[in-house]
Amino acid sequence: MKKHLLVMAMAAIGVSGVYAQTNDTLAKIKASGNISLGVRDSSALSFTLGNGKYVGFHTEMAERIVDDLSKAVGKKLAITYTPVTSQNRIPLVQNGTVDLECGSTTNNLARQKDVAFAVTTYMEEVRIATKANSGITGIKDLNGKTVATTTGTTSVQTLRKNERANGIDFKEVMGKDHADSFLLLESGRADAFVMDGSILAANISKSKAPADFKIVGEVLSVEPIACMIRKDDPAFKKAVDDSIKHQIADGSLAKLYDKWFMQPIPPANTKIGLPMSEATKAAWANPNDKPMEAFNSK
């Protein structure tokens, strides 16, 4: 009996990797008339307004992708919004709970072993935010300082790489989420906050005194952010990619960018105020699904 329980527990743990998936998402969503869309609670590209309502640049783009998918399968698809976290998003896509995840997932080589990515729709630039009066202007000035970043993000690794590459030494503190990391900066427990530019800009815009903070220095890392789908499903990937390319071509994606980054947005009606970066423009001009490593070869 005990052995049975153990085997079941082990099977439950290993489930995501063990069960083979039926790799035809188009047929699946056509049969059920429903698509499960992975969304985030509080990322700059996808966030919740409460009451199960999810919005954001990537969320709205995904809703348009679903419209195009509805045409492709010949019937109106209902959307189930499934909130995901950094920890569970890959297993949930693999096991079929989520069909299309458009949050803020970086396309990198490690993840490509488990899942596939649509063409890149946003290029994230990792930057440094600091108090406007701190005198910090770049990574070199961080020597001997305390630097905050958020647990469970790629920025932690970026920071370590830069620390070694530039031969500088600083103390890292890791907040449990972005709000917490920003609080570390705001309360003076950290001298700088290293994170995705969009997240920094969003946190600064929401703070009590946005003028007290600024984003400084060089771009520490460039990360392609893309929608995530199941691996080995070329028909579904093509349908999603085609929809994105079509949105880029007719200018609707640029309008969405303007709406979510340059105009006041809910819930507080503040502007993020982050103009489109050259890297994002390049990604749209030449749609591709290259991983992060292709952009940061040093």
Binding site: G14, S86, I90, A110, T154, Q157, G175, K176
Partner: protein, 252 residues
């Protein structure tokens, strides 16, 4: 399960290459090295917290049973109610963010001190409650006997009441010592790099969530079990033959 990859622990934390000695050198460390460092933080937070909890908990617990000192008893009661009725995570945030705003000198305190205070005081309320119940579980005659031989209050606690009371409450004290190890994971919420934080970060970086989870769980089990064994050994050594915790016979 076939695709579990235990080599991930030997990977360098910067370039992701497997390191031959699985440990790294200088500033280039492996995930195994990092996990052991995180374990060190967990053990440090827990042990220092436990010491604070035992000392403060004993003092407050004794205070609540003192004869003829109603204000000390009230203070002890208030202490227990305060620290027992606020969720631990909220207490950690209070120590970390709110108190330094109210008391400027605390701004200079390292986060480790603040989180250890939060964890220690929270647990002290629980230990105080156990110490009080242990003292009150003794037959009242013990206290009277101490008074009859002319002991002061301090002497009667030191030589008569507490040696018996601690033996009675040792089993729940063992549980409490194990609990503090598990509760130490809240230190992650205020950026102490404990095991819980390691799991979230390393799992994300390597994509090996399950392997990291198993490693971290194993270390938690090892630490809690070690505390359990040590405390049980102490309990055995202190046991007095013939002394059995009174059950239902107290009060006369």
């Amino acid at each position: 399960m076939a695709n579990w990859d235990w080599q991930v622990f030997c990977k360098d934390t910067i370039d992701g290459e497997v390191v031959a000695n699985c440990w790294g050198s200088g500033k280039d460390i492996t995930y195994l090295h990092w996990m052991v460092e995180a374990w060190g933080w967990t053990v440090a937070v827990s042990l220092v917290g436990l010491v604070i909890a035992l000392v403060v908990g004993s003092l407050v617990g004794v205070m609540r049973t003192l004869p003829n000192s109603p204000w000390l008893v009230r203070f002890g009661n208030a202490w227990v109610e305060l620290f027992r009725n606020i969720p631990l995570l909220v207490q950690v945030f209070l120590w970390y963010f709110v108190l330094p705003k109210m008391i400027p000198v605390m701004k200079g305190f390292p986060p480790f001190v603040l989180v250890v205070c939060a964890l220690g005081f929270f647990t002290s309320a629980r230990i105080a409650e156990q110490v009080r119940s242990g003292i009150q579980a003794l037959p009242r005659g013990q206290r009277y006997a101490a008074m009859a031989v002319g002991f002061t209050t301090f002497q009667s606690y030191r030589y008569v009441i507490l040696p018996m009371a601690y033996r009675i409450i040792f089993p729940p004290l063992i549980s409490e010592s194990m609990n503090i190890f598990k509760n130490s994971a809240v230190a992650f919420a205020v950026s102490i790099p404990v095991l819980a934080q390691f799991y979230l970060q390393a799992g994300e970086e390597t994509g090996a969530q399950v392997e990291m989870f198993v490693g971290v769980t194993a270390l938690y089990i090892v630490s809690a079990l070690a505390v359990n064994r040590i405390m049980t050994a102490i309990e055995k050594r202190l046991r007095i033959p013939g002394f059995v915790a009174p059950g239902g016979t107290g009060g006369h």
